[in-house]
């Protein structure tokens, strides 16, 4: 077997054009799901919260279904729902079917990631002892101040490795966005490959791009972890 190097170079250049799309979906997904996840984690941590059950149901629903199914399901469901809500209920005249598929992708991945991330946040928040909150309250801080200044900074350090895997997972999952006609790295490569049946070459290129992206993410998180966890280190 002989790899077509020229073709690979061409595909690389073209697939690289898909990188911004992949990153955009990943970053938007993380930014949107983080506050949602945090809200859900708090609902589950605070005692006697009625919404905890609802949140738990949602999380098991997401965890118990394959992401491909979620994508196909929500991608069929969302436009219909949006159409019904805006055009039928509110009587607006939005062209739902013209919405950029990237937005659908972000919506679906956010729904998924929020559930995963909320478990990451919950376990991290629970790893910070109750004594930290009590000491903050005794110092006169309000609950919100205690969370912002004492508990979240400590929980974040604990959560970072899992947040990192979540980001990496989202990044990889975005390769499924082609199912929603999004022109990301994967979609571009598939299209190129289909021309001359150069699938192996095309996939090899995609593989290399994803490895590079994921490595960069991991390096960023490692640096972040090093700087945020300074307080845990003992002096030599």
């Amino acid at each position: 077997m002989k790899l077509k190097i020229d073709f690979m170079a061409q595909t690389l250049v073209k697939a690289l054009a898909g990188v911004p799309v992949t990153l955009e979906i990943t970053i938007l997904t993380m930014l949107l799901s983080a506050p949602l996840a945090f809200w859900m984690a708090l609902r589950r941590i605070t005692k006697g919260n009625e919404k905890a059950k609802l949140v738990r149901f949602y999380i098991s629903f997401i965890r118990g279904t394959p992401i491909v199914l979620q994508i196909l399901f929500f991608y069929s469901l969302l436009p219909t729902l949006l159409n019904y809500f805006f055009n039928v209920l509110l009587g607006w005249d939005l062209n739902i079917w013209d919405i950029d598929p990237i937005l659908y992708a972000v919506a679906v991945f956010t729904l998924n990631t929020a559930a995963v991330l909320s478990e990451v946040f919950r376990s991290a928040l629970m790893s910070v002892g109750a004594g930290q909150l009590e000491a903050a309250l005794a110092s006169g801080l309000t609950g919100a101040q205690a969370y912002r200044r004492i508990i979240i900074p400590q929980a974040l350090v604990v959560a970072l490795p899992n947040i990192c895997s979540t980001v990496v997972n989202v990044l990889k999952s975005t390769s499924l966005a082609y199912l929603m006609t999004v022109q990301d790295i994967m979609a571009v490569a598939k299209k190129e490959a289909a021309f001359g049946y150069n699938y192996i070459e095309a996939y090899l290129v995609v593989l290399v791009i994803y490895i590079a992206l994921c490595t960069i993410v991991q390096l960023i998180f490692r640096a972040l972890e090093g700087s945020l966890s300074a307080y845990r280190r003992r002096l030599a």
């Binding site: 004594g131 930290q132 009590e134 000491a135 110092s139 006169g140 307080y231 845990r232």
Partner: protein, 251 residues
């Protein structure tokens, strides 16, 4: 100055505090003794609203606060007038010694940063940690951590400082340094309520010793009275048990 009236607290079906009254005057050093499970920690936590009492009233300089229904605002104002020293120190792990002390000053009391740092350093100097301002809790010994805990509790110059067994999590050789700091505070006129098993502290500095058992105050009096002729047989029995070892040294 501070008065607690008829405090009740249950955890589920367990009635832990069964009507506790306590009155504290400025400069008082009240030591609370009692067997494990008698509700000493629960009492201190109720005063600071870390636990919500089911019944009772706290009167702070004529301001009456019903403990069960106290508003967030009332709770916060009581917390700002008290300091709390925890058994397990509970220092903010992500903050240096100095930041532990200044956090409440800057964030809760809105004291300008420079002034808070000055006050914080003074508090740390007072507990003998002038050379540890920038150390994180993980870089300090247990005794040093507890002294930071004390500095944090006294920095805002609260009217009462509550101590919950401040030395019982410490290695024996570290107990002395913490007790010494507490004795110094006592001499400076700090009002304190101290739960402790350190009999020497109670005997040397307490203005009043309170014996608690089973959620009620059984007996109270000067240390001299409580230690030499306790009136209640339960007090006597408890003291005999805990002092058995100490007697060998003191007599």
């Amino acid at each position: 100055m501070l008065e607690l009236k008829n405090i009740h607290k249950s955890f589920g079906k367990n009635h832990i505090l069964k009507g506790v009254d306590l009155s504290v005057n400025k400069g008082d050093i009240i030591v609370i003794l009692g067997p494990s499970g008698s509700g000493k920690t629960t009492l201190l936590r109720c005063i600071n609203f870390l636990e919500r009492a089911d019944q009772g009233e706290i009167v702070f300089d004529e301001i009456r606060t019903p403990m069960k229904t106290a508003s967030r605002h009332q709770i916060n104002s009581i917390r700002k007038r008290t300091g709390f020293v925890f058994q397990n120190y509970n220092l903010f792990a992500n903050k240096t010694a100095l930041e532990n002390v200044t956090e409440g000053l800057i964030v809760a009391r809105k004291i300008p940063k420079e002034q808070a740092i000055k006050t914080g350093k003074e508090a740390l100097d007072k507990v003998g940690l002038s050379d540890r301002y920038d150390y994180y809790p993980s870089q300090l010994s247990g005794g040093q951590q507890q002294r930071v805990g004390i500095a944090r509790a006294i920095a805002a110059d609260p009217e009462v400082v509550l101590f919950d067994e401040p030395t019982s999590a410490l290695d024996p050789e570290l107990v002395g340094e913490v007790l010494q700091v507490m004795k110094k505070l006592a001499k400076d006129g700090t009002t304190m309520i101290v739960v402790t098993h350190e009999m020497s502290f109670a005997q040397d500095v307490a203005t009043e010793v309170v014996y608690m058992e089973d959620g009620v105050i059984v007996e109270r009096g000067t240390p001299r009275k409580i230690y030499s002729k306790p009136e209640d047989p339960r007090t006597e029995q408890f003291l005999r048990r805990v002092l058995r070892k100490d007697y060998e040294y003191s007599i």
